[in-house]
Symmetry: C2
Amino acid sequence: MTRFALTVEFDGRPYMGWQRQAHGPSVQQHIEEALGRIVGAPPVVHCAGRTDAGVHALAMRAHVDLDSAITPFRLMEALNAHLRPEPIAIIGCEAVADDWHARFSCLARSYDYRILNRRAPLTFEQGLIWRVPQRLDSDRMHEAAQQLVGRHDFTTFRSAQCQADSPVRTLDRLDVIRTGERISVLARARSFLHHQVRSMVGCLVMVGAGSWSVSDLKAALDARDRAALGHNAPPDGLYFVAAFYPGEPSR
Amino acid sequence: MTRFALTVEFDGRPYMGWQRQAHGPSVQQHIEEALGRIVGAPPVVHCAGRTDAGVHALAMRAHVDLDSAITPFRLMEALNAHLRPEPIAIIGCEAVADDWHARFSCLARSYDYRILNRRAPLTFEQGLIWRVPQRLDSDRMHEAAQQLVGRHDFTTFRSAQCQADSPVRTLDRLDVIRTGERISVLARARSFLHHQVRSMVGCLVMVGAGSWSVSDLKAALDARDRAALGHNAPPDGLYFVAAFYPGEPSR
């Protein structure tokens, strides 16, 4: 048996999310079915972090165990051939130690939430970015974001469906960066609660638009109450960008 | 009567091109129909440069004459509302002098041809970039491209359907720039022949992949013969990026 680590890029628009669902297509299902066509019975693929419907990935990490002498390069090529025409690409593949686990070995995850701050409607990026027509003050958003960095009870920013044992998380960074009409919110943590990034971004946009002050955001965090939430950002702008593992260079 | 200059961004995937066609949807048709819903009878819209089926624009320039007291801002907002959900956005609108003509006043046009140089298939950008799996030497492509800069007879790089009176054009610049897996070919000229950019890019990719030498490209130009052409790049990667007019800052 060989354990293969995969790096996966996918456009989340057509999928119910990473995880297999009874009621619609998922990224996991397509990758497992492609593997099944290569090695016989479809094996189970584990990922670093499950994503919601409509959320994208630039470099999701995953692993799978195969009883096959196939090389990592051949496996990557075969997977990409069998995944066609789905917008899912295997952009990296390597053999790893048997105790390397995409989810449990992962030291940190990072997300990029992309906003297009302009009045004109979307063209190329429908479903790939959140268009916000009101002018956003990105410096103020960044200032407000720093209040969320560190170890906190993030109950306010957690969905009702969240299955985590504890609402306490340590946010390593939450940076708001504007480049012209584009705003990126970069979030990094060991792990996130369900909807945490989208909830934080929704509130930061309220700060950027002037409907919330910087201290309103702090008050929402301190309330530890989902009812204190401003609103959730849509899945469109959310990208899983990296997972970090022991022995790999961190970014 | 007021003449309005429009700046138009569009995703070319669903269209037969800019120009109205009997056999399929066009960008011009959608903009003219949207104008018709705002001012009554649809007026004619003139553009800086017609694009082929599947070719995109980041900032096409166009103009239209309207008997209406509408302000440029209101016109832009109304057009964007009526264009929905087409992937066409009016990103600029201003009142201009009656003798300003999107096509005839234009001093130069520039295009960006985008290549993704990787083995893995496309995800987010299907139809929006040309994926070339063989490793391309972009420095060599840039070197070869410099032979095309200047005033030449571009018969080799002209489609059989080209309606221009002369095959002579002056290419101001043709720069090949790599950023990671992405290669941009930036072309600027007063005007281009039909298929000229895609033909030049197709040949540059043959140079980058090593199937052509730098002097093979020069020989193809000198042949002044369409049969000497390597191959055309697909429309997917081609973007009309700018048109330049008197009194505007050039790039």
